[in-house]
Every structure is written in structure tokens, then in C-alpha cells.
């Protein structure tokens, strides 16, 4: 590789624009400019140096901030498209999504659906955009940080005249630096936390260099964050299950491989009460009617003891009682259980009696557990009821036959066979809510409805997310980097004797106004002119 040797003797890597050591301009093109481009200290960046192979080209593409900004803008616009209509996960699951969008939003809705915007944020092209952003972040940062680090750690105190002259802040004073003035200036600079280095009577005062690493630190944070997001797709890192539990019911917590069980002791649903709750809420409650105050599951957590073969009833040991509320999940072993949904007064048991239609005599109690019905009920004295079919969520299907929509007992229906001493071969009766059909002709007996027992049901989301620590770490690093880069500025001041003159030059990566004010106070009565802004003269009126 052809390195460049500067007049000062320093050997710079190929592609360097400003000598890392003395600051002389090495690149012909740059020599004509009034000011040097200080952005990356004129260091040799790979992307500015090589452009031959395909890898060079890819590298150069992604290292460009222009490309980075375009990616950000495209991502921004794309994201906004997803908010025009609700995403699929937020629409009620009553009908196929396509129909829903068409019905709610007309042809625009249909177009939205057809373009796939109803699931925009998980579409391949959206993910590709994010991936491109991530690659761009990595390459652009690498391209700059290494050479920048080299230049900033190698810089020498005495910079060449051509370098000083072409700084944005620059001044020449016909004055001499007496030891006293130097001490005073140095003193003031130290007070302002500048670090001072001297060489042959020339001075370099520098502070907050660390803020230059801010962007790289924050980009690193973002990359870690994105990696954390990708980690979710690794099996075992992420669990998202739902657990429906009726009051009194105990079930294994899904995702825990049968290690943990949860019992729902009670589900509590509370609304704000005008009388009992704080008076200040009265107006608001009057206006909207009811406002929910609390969703809560009083649960008991159990842990399974020992090994069990499938089918065997596990032995459970109580871990603790806990109330699960919104914003107060139950946590165990990396799992968290969140209160997310509920159903009040869901039918749990249905009771019937067998009745002789003619005499009105009633026999027995048939209490059917709607979740786990028994098939035979012996009522004694030769009376017996058999459940031939059970439809928890009854409907007539397309062929006009009884069927069930789901396994939730929203609308239970039964086909009973009733055995009695006078009808030993049994009579068949179809019983649904508010309707009885006797398919085999008139029966002598019927099943009469004798009440229903209801229970509240709670729904808990079971979540394990082993990616959170990485995501949190990424966020933390991002914050550190962004604060580091935004709340401090890297400032440098060069003072150099050139014959009988004193040259000063200053540079900051941002907040020039602050630098100007600071330097003005430092040079106030020193007899030396503070560096002046070579750019803004023409803008001032």
C-alpha cells in the first residue's frame, strides 16, 4: 500500500487528506479551499480511498451518510403508512381480515389489505429496510471510527501554518507572548477544563475529546438493540402464550413444560363507584358512565414435585399466593404472567331434571360440567340419563346438522337419551337453550332446565422474553452515546508563534457560538485577538 510521507516526516496511510501529525494538506484538491474539511480530521477512510471491487462498492454504498439518511426517511414514511388504518392485530377477529378492511374502509381498505399494509411491520420489505439500516450503521461507523481514532490520538501540538489558517476560527495578532500572558491564558483554559499540551512554545488546548465517540457509541447501542430484536427468532428465547383459567380451576402454565401450575381463586372486576370513590372523579364518571378500576386475578402458584409420567396426576407444591393485576404481573423463573382479558359469568355447569310430562314427577339432578361433561347419570330406581352428544357452542352447520363453533360453552346443547322403567330402550331428546326437539316423535319424558352455574374466567398472557436484557443494554448504550455526543462538544485551541506574530485557531465539532463566547472571555485582556469566525462575517449585518 502506498503510504504518504508528509513534509514533516510523518507517514500517513494512503488516502489521508490532512497529515495526522502536523495538519498539512496532503490532497491536491483540498489545497485550493479556503477552509479545510475537519469532519474526520482529514483521515483516510476506506470508503474514500478504494472503489474497485464489488466489496468496495457495497462498503462505499452503506458507509455513505446520504444513503443512511435516505434509509431513515424511507423507514419513516413506510412506518407512517401502517397507521392509516389499524393493523390486523388490532381489528376484531369477527371475520376474515380482507372482508373487514373492505367493509370498514371501502375500496381504500381493500387496497390497503391487498398491498399487505395490514401487516406492514412484519412484511419482508419492512424488515429488509431495518436490516439495511443496521448494516449501514455498522459499516458507516467502522469506516470512520478507526481512522478518526488514529488521527485524534496522534495529533501534534504544533500544527502547520496552512492548517491553522484554514480553520474556521482563526486570528493573527502582532504581539508577543510574555510568560505572564501565557500563564494567564493557560490558567483560564485550565479553569474551563481544557487539557493543555505545549511544544516549542506552541500550545494545544483540548477538551471533551470523548464526545467525539458519542455517535459511534450510540450506533453500537442501536446495533445491539437490533441484534436483541433478532434474538427473538432463536427458539426458546421468546414465549407468548395465553392461559384461560376459570375460577377454581388449576392448569399447567403453558411454556413452562409442566413445571408450574396456576390456580385461579377468584377473578375481580371493579368499576369506579361514584359514592365510594374520590369525589373529584364524579363529573368524569357522570359523563362516560362506567370507568373500570381494576382487573385482578387472585392466583396461587404451584410447582410440580418430582417426575410424572404423562397422564399421571402431578403432585403440586404451593409456591405462593399472588394477585395479578394490570401493571402488576406475576413473575417466576423468567416468566411473567399478565392480566390481559377476562369473561364474566361464563356458564360453567348446567343442571337438569328428568320429568314425566304427564304426571309432572321429577327425578334426580343432572348437573353437567360444561367443560368436562360426564356421559352417564344414574338417577336410581331404573332412571338413567345418557349424554349422547354435546355441543358446547351450538349451531346448525351448512348441512343443517347440529355442530359446535368452538369448545367454549357459549351456547351449550345436548342430545340426551333418557332411560326410565317404562321406556327401558330410551327416548332421545335434543336440548338447547330455550329449545327442545324430540327427533323420534313425542316422548313421555323430558329434560327440564334447572339452573346454571356461572364463573368468571380470566385470561393471562404468559410471557418469557430472554432478549430483554440485550435490548435494554442496547438502549442504555444508545442513551450514553447520544448524551455523550450531544451534551459535550470537542473543542480545541491552537496557539502558535509565527515569527513575531501570534496565530490562534480553534475548532469544535458543534456549538460554535459557545466556543466563540468561551474564547472571547479567555483572550479578553491578553493583548491577543481571540480566534474569529471566518465564515460568519458575511452573514452578520
Amino acid at each position: 500500500m502506498n503510504e504518504i510521507k508528509c513534509e514533516c516526516g510523518h507517514v500517513n496511510p494512503h488516502g489521508t487528506i490532512l497529515c495526522e501529525s502536523c495538519g498539512r494538506v496532503l490532497e491536491e484538491k483540498e489545497k485550493e479551499k479556503q477552509l479545510v474539511d475537519m469532519r474526520y480530521e482529514g483521515s483516510a477512510r476506506r470508503s474514500q480511498t478504494y472503489n474497485k471491487t464489488i466489496i468496495d462498492k457495497i462498503w462505499n454504498f452503506f458507509s455513505s451518510v446520504k444513503v443512511g439518511v435516505w434509509l431513515i426517511i424511507i423507514l419513516l414514511v413506510a412506518s407512517s403508512l401502517g397507521t392509516i388504518f389499524p393493523q390486523e392485530m388490532y381489528i376484531p377477529p369477527l371475520m376474515p381480515a380482507g372482508e373487514y378492511y373492505q367493509e370498514q374502509y371501502g375500496w381504500l381498505g381493500k387496497l390497503y389489505y391487498d398491498l399487505g399494509f395490514h401487516n406492514l411491520y412484519s412484511s419482508w420489505w419492512y424488515l429488509l429496510l431495518i436490516a439495511a439500516l443496521g448494516i449501514s450503521l455498522i459499516i458507516a461507523s467502522l469506516d470512520r471510527v478507526v481512522p478518526l481514532y488514529r488521527s485524534l490520538t496522534n495529533q501534534r501540538v504544533s500544527r502547520h501554518e496552512s492548517f491553522l489558517k484554514r480553520q474556521r476560527m482563526f486570528s493573527v495578532s502582532n504581539a508577543d507572548l510574555s510568560g505572564e500572558t501565557v500563564d494567564k491564558i493557560k490558567n483560564l483554559l485550565t479553569q474551563k477544563r481544557y487539557k493543555i499540551r505545549e511544544e516549542n512554545g506552541n500550545i494545544l488546548a483540548e477538551k471533551n475529546r470523548f464526545s467525539r465517540w458519542g455517535p459511534y457509541v450510540n450506533h453500537l447501542g442501536l446495533v445491539i438493540f437490533l441484534l436483541g430484536g433478532m434474538l427473538r427468532f432463536v427458539p426458546g428465547m421468546y414465549v407468548d402464550e395465553i392461559l384461560w383459567l376459570r375460577e377454581g380451576e388449576t392448569k399447567a402454565i403453558p411454556g413452562t413444560e409442566g413445571q408450574y401450575y396456576l390456580k385461579n381463586n377468584a377473578f375481580i372486576f371493579e368499576v369506579y363507584d361514584k359514592e365510594k370513590d374520590d369525589e373529584v372523579f364524579q363529573n368524569a364518571i357522570d359523563k362516560v358512565g362506567t370507568v373500570v378500576k381494576n382487573y385482578q386475578t387472585d392466583a396461587t402458584l404451584y410447582k410440580k414435585q418430582g417426575d410424572t409420567v404423562p397422564g399421571e396426576k402431578p403432585e403440586l407444591e404451593k409456591v405462593r399466593d399472588q394477585s395479578i393485576q394490570v401493571n402488576k404481573p406475576l413473575k417466576i423463573d423468567g416468566f411473567a404472567l399478565y392480566q390481559v382479558d377476562y369473561k364474566l359469568d361464563e356458564m360453567n355447569k348446567m343442571a337438569f331434571k328428568l320429568e314425566n310430562k304427564k304426571t309432572g314427577d321429577q327425578f334426580g339432578d343432572v348437573a353437567v360440567d360444561l367443560y368436562d361433561p360426564e356421559m352417564n347419570y344414574d338417577l336410581g330406581n331404573g332412571y338413567k340419563v345418557e349424554v349422547m352428544s354435546y355441543f358446547p357452542d351450538f349451531e346448525f352447520n351448512e348441512d343443517g346438522e347440529p355442530a359446535t363453533k368452538s369448545r367454549i360453552p357459549n351456547n351449550p346443547a345436548f342430545i340426551f337419551k333418557m332411560f326410565t322403567p317404562d321406556k327401558p330402550e330410551g327416548e332421545i331428546s335434543f336440548v338447547a337453550i330455550r329449545q327442545t326437539i324430540e327427533p323420534m316423535g313425542d316422548n313421555d319424558y323430558k329434560m327440564i332446565f334447572n339452573g346454571v352455574e356461572t364463573k368468571n374466567v380470566t385470561a393471562l398472557t404468559v410471557r418469557k422474553d430472554l432478549t430483554l436484557w440485550l435490548i435494554g443494554l442496547g438502549g442504555l448504550i444508545f442513551m450514553i452515546g447520544v448524551v455523550q455526543g450531544a451534551y459535550w462538544n470537542h473543542r480545541r485551541l491552537w496557539i502558535r508563534r509565527v515569527d513575531s506574530q501570534i496565530w490562534t485557531a480553534a475548532h469544535t465539532n458543534k456549538n460554535w457560538h459557545g466556543l466563540k463566547r468561551e474564547l472571547d472571555t479567555i483572550f479578553a485582556d491578553s493583548g491577543i485577538k481571540a480566534p474569529e469566525d471566518q465564515l460568519s462575517d458575511d452573514k452578520k449585518e
Partner: protein, 395 residues
């Protein structure tokens, strides 16, 4: 206590208006025009009045917090007025960094407008639904609002920059868009006027209509209905009969409010133009005579630099922490979340363009204006139009 606290809010509002007058006086005071570094007497009184207003609003905030038992940032009224307060706070901080009364002359009207706008929403103390019962919510909301407020100062700075730098002697795209931005502010004022007027006269018109599920429903208008709901039937007598009816999927009441705001904005704007006999921006221009453009540019940039990390912390990081606890996942692509992401991406682009592409001055000022529009869009449109999980029950 709630009523007492409202008095403090009102006092704060008046003090901000008085502050504007003093900052105006500070600029017009010719004797001190050349001494840019030390603010004159007017400016000093202006900042004292502004700080008094800020403290008064802080008192409102604290009292309301005590009265309701939760940080008052849980409905649109509370959040918007808090945002206004944060904007004033951000201005006060930047005033002490840069000593520029002109920034007050532009920031305070925006803040006052935001507070007035927020006060048009129901001011009842609302009980918290379970999802909102978390201190993380309050940390998230206040930090976000403070971040957005600091970012909004760059809007004020951007406006100053544009008013000063855009050439008003000839018509151009810049003069047009600048008028559009100012018209937006004037329409907000129009909305405040219209709402206050009809609230004072207790106007009400009730409608029966058919909603988008095809069910009969009712709607109460508090300003006269120019557009009525789908298949409406006015149930009050002697009320203004709507001129048009909307399809069911459009919220007629909200559309009606927008129409009134724009119409009153147009009236106000035309009136102003007739009085001033030039573009509004041209009329504002002389006020910016003595300000250094570089300085304004820097103030704008600084406020983005300071505001961006605060917004990231509140609007994204705290938001994610809260979402993880309340909604089981730290990110759910809810519209409000997406618009926070958009805001964040936008300001990231702003910083990159500025740092690497050298977008200073006018370009940067326009970006600051657009950024503010995005913030307001998230506050207003996303809450009222694109409802999501976060939407406060506004009407």
C-alpha cells in the same frame, strides 16, 4: 382544590400573555438595540413575568396532582397543558443560555396557544383505568412532553430564522409555505375562539344518526353543525340545520370542528392581511431586525441536540419499559408508538443532515418546522383521529 388549581392555570396563561408584551417591548426599545449582549429592562421584566407564570402553572400542576391522586398527565387537557408548561420551561432555560428576548416573543405565543388549545378539552379529573395505573406511565409521559417541548423550541427558532431570512419582496415557495405555517397557528387560535364562544353561550345540538355498524346512535355537538352525521336527525329545536351529511365512516363531529377551525382561521387571516396590507411573515420581519441569524440557527440546533436525548429517553425507552409491564410487550406497533418512532427518526435525520451534509440555516429551519408539525400531529391527530391504545378519551 381542583377549582383552585384552575385559577393558577388561568393566572399562568395571563402572565404568559403579559410576558409576550414585555418581550415585544424589549425588541422595540431602540435605545438598547445595539447592546445585544445584555438584555434591556423590558426583557428583564419579561422573563420575570414568564417565570412567575411558569411557577403559577407548576402550582396548578401540583395542586391537581394532590387533588386527583395521580400525576395530571392522564387526559388530553392535562397532557397538552403540561406540554405548554414544558415549552415555557425550555424557553426559560434557553433564555438564560442565550439572553434573547426575541425567542420569548416567538415561543410564548406558541406555548399560550397550546395551553388554550388544551383547555378546550374536557377538564374533569378522570379516574385512571387499570392500564394507566403505573408510575412508569407518568414518568414516560412527562419525560416525553419535556423532550418534545425542548424540540419545539427549535420550531420557534426556525420560525424566527425564516421570518428574517426569507425574502419578502417577491413571491416564492418559501413565502407561501411560511404563510401556511403561520396560518396553521392562526387556525388553532380560531379553534380556541370558536370553542370558547359557543361554550360561553352554552350551545348544544343533539342528533340521532346511524353509525358505521348500522346502529342508531346519538351525538352531541357543542358548536353549530355544518356537517351532520350519517342520516342525521336533529332532535333539538331552533338549532342550526347541517348543510351536508357525511358517510358513516367519517366522524362528522370532528370534521365539523376542523371545518370551523379552518374557516375561522381564514377569517382571521384575511382580516390580518387586510389590516397589515402585507404577508403576515413580512409584518413580523421588522421584529427580527436585530437578531443574528447564526445565533438563531445555533439556538435551534442546540434545542434539538438537547431535546433529542430527552425525547428518546421518555418517548421510546421509558415508553418501552412501561409497555412491557402494562401491555406484556415493549413494542406493539400501536399508532401512537409508531408516530413516536417517526418523530425520533425524523430528528435523527435532522441531526445527520446537519452534521454530515451541512444543512445549516434555512434548510435546518424548515426541518425544525416540519419536526414540530410531526410532534403536533402525534399529539392532535393521532389522539383524535387514529385512535389506538394510548388515545385519551378526547372528543
Amino acid at each position: 382544590m381542583v377549582e383552585l388549581s384552575s385559577n393558577f392555570l388561568f393566572t399562568a396563561f395571563i402572565l404568559y400573555l403579559v410576558g409576550i408584551l414585555f418581550f415585544g417591548g424589549a425588541i422595540k426599545d431602540k435605545r438598547h438595540a445595539d447592546k445585544k449582549d445584555s438584555p434591556n429592562k423590558w426583557a428583564k421584566i419579561g422573563i420575570v413575568v414568564t417565570i412567575a407564570g411558569f411557577l403559577s402553572q407548576l402550582t396548578f400542576f401540583v395542586l391537581r396532582w394532590i387533588a386527583s391522586g395521580h400525576a395530571p398527565v392522564s387526559n388530553l387537557f392535562e397532557f397538552t397543558t403540561f406540554f405548554g408548561m414544558a415549552l415555557v420551561g425550555a424557553f426559560i432555560a434557553l433564555y438564560f443560555m442565550y439572553k434573547t428576548p426575541l425567542l420569548g416573543l416567538f415561543t410564548l405565543p406558541v406555548a399560550a396557544l397550546i395551553i388554550a388549545y388544551g383547555s378546550m378539552f374536557p377538564r374533569d379529573v378522570t379516574p385512571l383505568i387499570p392500564a394507566l395505573q403505573s408510575y412508569w406511565l407518568h414518568i414516560h409521559v412527562t419525560t416525553t412532553a419535556i423532550g418534545q417541548a425542548i424540540l419545539a423550541v427549535s420550531f420557534a427558532a426556525g420560525l424566527i430564522y425564516l421570518v428574517k431570512s426569507v425574502d419578502q419582496t417577491k413571491k416564492s415557495k418559501s413565502t407561501l409555505w411560511l404563510e401556511v405555517v403561520l396560518f396553521g397557528l392562526i387556525s388553532t387560535l380560531g379553534f380556541v375562539f370558536v370553542s370558547s364562544f359557543f361554550a360561553a353561550t352554552d350551545y348544544q345540538a343533539n342528533f340521532n344518526y346511524v353509525n358505521k355498524e348500522g346502529q342508531p346512535a346519538t351525538e352531541k355537538y357543542t358548536i353549530p353543525a355544518v356537517v351532520g352525521p350519517h342520516q342525521f336527525e336533529l332532535t333539538d329545536k331552533d338549532r342550526f340545520e347541517p348543510l351536508i351529511e357525511t358517510p358513516a365512516i367519517i366522524s362528522a363531529k370532528k370534521l365539523n370542528t376542523v371545518i370551523w377551525s379552518l374557516a375561522s382561521g381564514i377569517v382571521l387571516y384575511v382580516l390580518l392581511r387586510a389590516i397589515l396590507r402585507k404577508r403576515i411573515a413580512a409584518a413580523l420581519k421588522p421584529w427580527t431586525k436585530n437578531i443574528n441569524l447564526d445565533l438563531v440557527d445555533e439556538i435551534g440546533y442546540r434545542s434539538v441536540l438537547i431535546g433529542f436525548p430527552v425525547f428518546t429517553l421518555g418517548g421510546l425507552i421509558f415508553a418501552m419499559i412501561w409497555a412491557q409491564i402494562a401491555w406484556t410487550r415493549f413494542w406493539g406497533w400501536d399508532p401512537k408508538e409508531v408516530w413516536a418512532l417517526i418523530t425520533w427518526l425524523f430528528y435523527a435525520a435532522f441531526l445527520h443532515l446537519r452534521l454530515s451534509k451541512g444543512w445549516h440555516g434555512e434548510k435546518s429551519a424548515w426541518l425544525a418546522v416540519i419536526g414540530f408539525i410531526i410532534i403536533m400531529f402525534n399529539l392532535v391527530a393521532v389522539n383524535l383521529v387514529i385512535a389506538g391504545l394510548h388515545s385519551y378519551a378526547g372528543s
